[in-house]
Amino acid sequence: MSELTLTVMRLGFLAVLWLFVIVAVQVIRSDLFGTRVTQRGSARRGAPDRPQQQRQATPPPQRQQPAGRGGGRGRRGAPTKLVVSEGTLAGTTVALQGQTISLGRAHDSTIVLDDDYASSRHARIYPDRDGQWIVEDLGSTNGTYLDRTRLTTPTPIPLGAPIRIGKTVIELRK
C-alpha cells in the first residue's frame, strides 16, 4: 500500500473521528439553547409559560395507556396513574396498582413532598374494596384540599379532580 494512501487514510480517519465529536456536540446544542429554566416561585401565569401550556395540551399519543390496566380492576374509567401537575415535583407520575400512596415530607413517603406547607405525613391515597380511590388527610397542619373543600373525612377522588397540598397539585388520570 502506497505511503500516500496511508497518509490520506490516517488524516481522513482523524477527520471522521472529530466530525463525530462535532456532530455529538451539535446534538447537545439543543440542550443549551432549547431549554426553559423555570425558577421556583416565579410567576407561572406570565407570558413565558404559554408555550408550555400549548405543548402540554397535545400529549404524545404513546403516553396514553389503555384503560383498565390497573391490576385486576378492569373497570372502565378507573384511574391508572397519579400525576403531580403543579409544584416542584411537577411531572412526576406514579402508576396506581392497588397500593397505598403516602404523601408527605417524610423520606419513606411514596411521594416525598419538598413543600414548605406539607407535613411529614400529610395525606394518603388508597383504594377501597370497590377499587374507588380515596384520599385521606392524616392530620396535617395546613390541610389537604380536594377541589376547594378542605378534607375532614376520607373522600373518594373523582377522575381529574385536583388534590392540593400547599403548592403541590395532584390528580388521578386514566
Binding site: 500500500m1 494512501t5 496511508l6 487514510m9 490516517r10 481522513g12 480517519f13 482523524l14 471522521v16 473521528l17 463525530f20 465529536v21 456532530v23 455529538a24 456536540v25 446534538v27 447537545i28 440542550d31 432549547g34 431549554t35 426553559r36 429554566v37 423555570t38 425558577q39 421556583r40 416561585g41 408550555q52 405543548r55 402540554q56 395540551a57 397535545t58 400529549p59 404524545p60 404513546q62 403516553r63 400525576v83 401537575s85 403543579e86 416542584t88 411537577a90 411531572g91 412526576t92 407520575t93 423520606h107 416525598v112 419538598d114 414548605d116 406547607y117 395546613n142 384540599y145 377541589d147 376547594r148 381529574g160 385536583p162 392540593r164 400547599g166 403548592k167 397539585v169 390528580e171 388520570r173
Partner: protein, 474 residues
Amino acid sequence: MSSTSNTTTISTIGPPSRRNTELALLVFAVIVPVFAYANAGLALSDELPSGMLSYGLGLGLLAGVGHLVVRKFAPYADPLLLPIATLLNGLGLVIIWRLDQSRRLAQQAKNADRVFSAAAPNQLIYSAMAVALFVGVLIFLKDHRILQRYTYISMVGALILLILPVFFPPVFGARIWVRVGSFSIQPAEFAKIIIAVFFSGYLMVKRDALALASRRVMGLYLPRGRDLGPILVVWAMSILILVFETDLGTSLLFFGMFVVMLYVATERTSWIVFGLLMSAAGAVGVASFEPHVKVRVMAWLHPFAVYQEHPPSWATTEQIAQALMSFGSGGVFGTGLGQGASDLIGFAANSDFILATIGEELGLAGTMAILLLYGLIVERGMRTALAARDPFGKLLSIGLSAAFAIQVFVVAGGVMGLIPLTGMTMPFVAYGGSSVLANWALIAILIRISDTARRPAPAPAPSTDAEMTQVVRP
C-alpha cells in the same frame, strides 16, 4: 438551604424524543470503527482484513439491538450515551485486533513460554454479553427509584464484592481478581455501580443532617462527629482495599466518588477540603509502608531510571517509559493505525496501556477526540442529574458519572505519567470482560434515569372550575 437543588426545573422545548438523532449517530458510530479497521488492515498487511464485513455487521447488530430496546423501553432517553459507548467499544475492538496482529507480541509471549491468543474475538464476545446486560437492565429496571429500596443491601453487596478478591491469589501483584474455574472477574468494576446506589440512597436521607448540623470554625463548616462517621468508614474501607489488595485505582475511585457525591448532596466545600486532606494522608501513609505501592510511586517519579547503567532495585518495569515514548513518537497526528510501535509495550498493551497505542497511532488529535468522547459521556450524566426530578436519581447519576470520570482520569493519568500508575482499565476501550460488562450496565442505568428525567410533563386536566382554592404562593 440544602434543598436548593429543587429551585429550578429544566425542560426541553424541542421534540422530547430524540430517537432518530440517536439512530443517525449510531450509524455514524458504527462506520467510524469499520473505517479504522480497514485502515489498520491496509497498513498491516496491504489488504482489507477478511473479517471486515462480519465485524461491521456484528457491531451494527449490537448497536441496532441496543437502539431498538432503548426506543421501546426508554423512548425519551438521552440520544448521545448509546452512540458514544458504541463508538468507543468499536474502536477498542479495532485496536485490540491491531495488537493481536503484532508479531513482536507473539514472539515475546513465546519467549516467556506463554500462549499468545488473539484477544479481539474474546472481546467481541464480551461486548455482545455486555450489550445483552444493557438490554436486560433496561427491560427489567423499569424505574431507577426501585434501586432506592436496596440501599443497605447494596452496601453489603458492594462490601462482599470488594472483600472477595482477598481470598484469591494475587495476579501481577494486585488482588483484584476472583477466579471461578477458567473464568476470572474483577468484582471492583461491578462494585462501583452498586456502591453508587448505596451512597445515593444514604446521602438522600442524611444530607440535611450533614449540611446543616455543623459548627463554623475558621471559615470552614465542621460537621458533627456522628455525621463524620460514614465518611471515616468509607475512607478506612478504601485504605484497607489499598493495603490488602494493593489496588490503588479502586480505592481512589471509591473515595473520590464518595467525596463528589457528598459535595453534591450537601453543597459544603468543607467536605472537599476534608476529602482531599484525608486522601492525601492515606496515600502518603500507604505509599511509605506498602512496598507494592512504593514501587509504583518511585516508577512514576523516575520513569526512565530502568534504562540507567545501574538501575535501582525498584526499577523493574519499562512500561511507563515505553508508554511515554509512544506518546512522544505519535506527535500531533500520529503514525497511523497499524503503523506505530506501541506493541513494544509487551505486557498489558491491550488493557492498561491501550491509551499509549491510541496516543502513538492517532496522535494528540486522536487522543483528544477519545478523551472528549469520554467527557461527553460524563457531561450527559451530569446533565441527566440536573434534569432528574427526584433527589435519588440526581445523586445516582452524579455518582455514576463521577465514577466514570475518575476512572478515565486515573487510567489516562497513570499511562501519561501524571499520577502513579494503577491497575484500572480504560472504560469500553481496554480489553477485559468485567470492565465492558460493568460499563455497559452503568450506561444502561444512566439511560434509564435520563428517560425518566426527560419525559415530558403530562398535560394538566382541563380546568372545569376557574375559581378553585387559592394556591399558596410565596
